[in-house]
Amino acid sequence: QETVVFAGFGGSIMAAQRKVYFDAFEKETGIKVIDVPDSGLPKIKAMVNSGNVQWDVANTLGMYVHQGIKENLWEKLDQKVVGAAGIPKELRNDYGIGNAAYGQILAYNTKLSGGVNAPKTWADFWNVSGKAGPRGLFDGPRYILEFALMADGVAPKDLYPLDVDRAFASLDKIKSKVSIWWKQWPQVPILLSSGEINMSNMSNARIQDIVATEKVPLEIVWNQGLMTVDWLVVPRGAKNPANAMKLIAFMSRPDLQAKFAQATNIGPVNADSISLMSAEEQQKLPSVHYKNGEMGLVDDAWWAENSDKMIQRWDSWKLK
């Protein structure tokens, strides 16, 4: 039987992908989708170098797409098969195509920081004496540098190339006041809802998910958020490239991306999807808030170029 191997991030996201995309794909094409969790650039790199590539389609950070191009890790997409006219130019290239949009946003607990105390901007987050309550931030440079710059008054559209010195200077102001520098994303919704912290950066879907299932009083500030996009690529030397193209094309369909967004609150990349959803649903998606101009878009190319340096600088800054 024909197969195609899809490497994703596992967990609930992949469960949703299975429901929305893979089952339908199997039904429609008869090609079986084997989904494996734990997609990571190092393993892809090792596989490509070894010539024994296990995966046909990989779900990966936008930043890695650029890095992979430099290291010649990807197959060229067969644009004829992939098509997907609704996907904007800036979110596709010869080797990969954007698939899902996440909102990197500020989230807070309304019970603890509601009403007048509710933060509206990163400046509010930085203003510890004004908007009191323990804060959490991700322990790493990605997104945090951007937030720091916005807190310091930089507009979302003017972020790139990042003024790194200014960002760290801004971070210095809050360094000792953040009570938890967290490392694991799933930690945070729990920390927020249990009141360990009042506010933190987070991704929208996780917050919306826990609000829906646990009915906790958490709120998202879309303003000054960042949109990031996960891409789909085909590792070079994949065993089923043709099927891979078919799957990518399938996963880029506006109707399915809309369905996926409804299930997960992870935004569609295909612009045609938005209109397929209700206004209420649209309000939950980063794609919409990005379009409204509330949010900025993460510059994956910049990060691909500077990630290593930023990590090192972050490490040094931490220990200072």
Binding site: G10, V36, D38, S50, G51, N52, Q184
Partner: protein
């Protein structure tokens, strides 16, 4: 009748011995061990109970999560894969570690330090780093295959040694060898070699002296090491993920994904419970088997 008395004597006196040791040290030791025991109670039992209770408590008592696991054949398959992988890795590790630990006993002090260093150094090396090294060595165009095809021409087509079960086993065994050797050596080098010598002088060839005397005397070390290795090998997730093929998914990987992507406490706890029960059963079977072979050997 005589036999019965003697037999009872044996059984009873085994019991007696532990009671004896007990009593003669008890008053002395009590104050020494109290902090440890209190710590145990607080630090081990409480988190454990909290954690495991999550598997059947979610706003009320529920078997939902277990039902989820049992209902999905894929989870059961994962249980089976995990168990098989752990047992194979443990067996491979013990088979390799045991001779090395024996060799350590016989080697001179300089040689011993050298080997110890060789064994332990990789152990300090980060597991990720090691996995990538293994990939470089084992992959289709890796060192081993290149050597076998190009240099010796022993084989035509490269052997698949990674991204499959053998790959995982190589990685796991490599990881597990140092602790196994360390434990085996620590315990084995207490064995009184004069007793092995006695066996030799009574006509046992080296291999029979080994089999009938040294091996049984080293059972405590084997048991401790097997136990530790088995436990460790049930918990791997990095190695199967990196060196394994598509099907080499373990419970630990599952838990890992569950917790890094979405904190589903309850489901994660339920999987933990399954892993735990599985391990308990495994250890039970192991001891059962062990006591049987032992019982069978005694005249």
């Amino acid at each position: 009748m005589k036999m019965t008395v003697a037999e009872n004597g044996v059984l009873a006196s085994n019991k007696f011995k532990s009671k004896r040791a007990h009593r003669s040290l008890r008053p002395s030791a009590m104050w020494l061990v109290m902090p440890g025991v209190v710590f145990l109670a607080v630090a081990f039992v409480v988190p454990l109970l909290i954690l495991l209770s999550q598997s059947f408590y979610d706003e009320g008592f529920t078997f939902r999560y277990f039902a989820m696991i049992l209902a999905s054949p894929s989870y059961l398959a994962v249980v089976w894969i995990t168990l098989r992988m752990a047992v194979l890795a443990t067996a491979a590790t013990m088979l390799l570690a045991y001779p090395v630990s024996c060799y350590l006993m016989l080697a001179g002090p300089a040689m011993r330090s050298f080997i110890m260093a060789l064994i332990i150094i990789p152990f300090w090396t980060n597991i990720l780093v090691r996995c990538y090294a293994w990939m470089a060595i084992l992959q289709r165009r890796g060192l081993v295959n290149t050597f076998l095809t190009d240099q010796i021409g022993l084989i035509d087509r490269p052997i698949e040694m990674v991204y499959n079960l053998p790959g995982v086993l190589i990685g796991m065994t490599h990881y597990l060898l140092p602790p196994a050797i360390l434990i085996l050596y620590s315990i084995n080098h207490n064995i009184d070699l004069r007793i092995v010598g006695a066996a030799r002088s009574l006509g046992a060839s080296p291999s029979r002296a080994f089999r009938h005397v040294f091996l049984p005397l080293s059972m405590p070390g084997i048991r401790a090491a097997t136990m530790l290795v088995l436990i460790l090998s049930l918990g791997f997730f990095v190695i199967p993920a990196l060196l394994g093929g598509l099907k080499d998914m373990t419970l630990a990987t599952l838990i890992n994904v569950q917790f890094t992507e979405s904190v589903d406490w309850h489901f994660g706890a339920a999987i933990s419970m399954v892993l735990l029960v599985m391990t308990l059963v495994g250890i039970g079977v192991y001891y059962q088997a062990l006591s049987k072979t032992k019982g069978g050997k005694q005249p």
